[in-house]
């Protein structure tokens, strides 16, 4: 894969992101992929003058991940998306859609988890 790859942990991800921001990188997006039953891979992609830089965060699915949206506001959208699709919880989102970004209550399972995870609502939205 093109671009430098840095591994981070839950504790360092926000700090690392902030550092990258200071270096003048632009936030591109995040990707998420399921590794196995419990582990999930979250990639943060950044760009500076067409050079990419990635952070790789490998976490347990049910550990809440700190949001980087306070650093890069633009991240709120993709974090909400991951919340919706992978049942990963982000803490401290700038705007939290509470898992209603894309999916309505009719969709019962978290779609991108091959090992079925019930879609449970965290917020007001899905309760009604």
């Amino acid at each position: 894969m093109k671009g430098e790859m840095i591994s981070v942990s839950i504790d360092t991800v926000v700090g690392e992101t902030a550092k990258i921001k200071v270096e003048g990188y632009r936030f591109v997006t995040m990707s998420c992929a399921e590794l196995d039953q419990t582990m999930i891979d979250i990639l943060y992609h950044f760009d500076k003058d067409l050079e990419l830089k990635h952070l790789r965060l490998t976490v347990l699915r049910d550990t809440p991940v700190p949001s980087v949206s306070p650093v890069y506001f633009a991240a709120f959208l993709v974090e909400n998306e991951i919340q919706d699709l992978f049942a990963v919880r982000f803490k401290g989102l700038a705007i939290d859609y509470e898992r209603t970004l894309y999916l309505d209550e009719e969709v019962k399972v978290t779609p991108f988890c091959k090992y079925t995870v019930e879609k449970t609502g965290w917020g007001v939205g899905s309760k009604q």
């Binding site: 894309y102 999916l103 309505d104 009719e106 969709v107 779609p111």
Partner: protein
């Protein structure tokens, strides 16, 4: 006689409401293209009113998903009778290539009754015009 005049006028003055129900934009822009000088569907008195309260024909493009189906039903309910629904593109007909995706309910007819099906991906403007014309014939039946 008066009745005939009204039916005649209905056929001569169909106002469109186009709702993009999760289309990939392909069919969507083809619908818009019908309004442009090259196809100029205003020749048939067609106006894109964009308001269910005024519309006679509901053009639906795209797949129905769980969120927009509520909107679709709302819009359909707001249209005064008689009304015709034209589903456009594979997506609108059956969900097309996406019909197995998790957030896709299927074609438009899963949610509201459809009068005309216009196949294609995207459906060509000519096909859409044909579809509307066929839809207009339905007004004869829907007195």
């Amino acid at each position: 006689m008066f009745k005939r005049m009204i039916t005649e006028s209905r056929i001569k003055s169909p106002w469109l409401l186009h709702y993009d129900c999760g289309s990939c934009n392909g069919c969507d822009i083809e619908v818009l293209a019908c309004l442009t000088p090259v196809y100029d569907i205003e020749r048939f008195g067609i106006v894109n009113v964009g308001n269910p309260m005024h519309a006679d024909i509901l053009l639906v493009t795209g797949t129905v998903n769980h969120r927009n189906k509520k909107v679709l039903v709302n819009l359909y309910d707001q249209m005064p009778h008689p009304k015709v629904v034209v589903a456009i593109g594979s997506c609108g007909l059956s969900g097309g290539i996406f019909r197995e995706a998790y957030n896709v309910v299927g074609g438009v007819d899963k949610v509201i009754p459809v009068d005309v099906y216009v196949p294609g991906c995207p459906a060509k403007p000519e096909a859409i015009i044909d579809g509307v014309v066929i839809g207009l014939q339905k007004f004869h039946e829907k007195m």
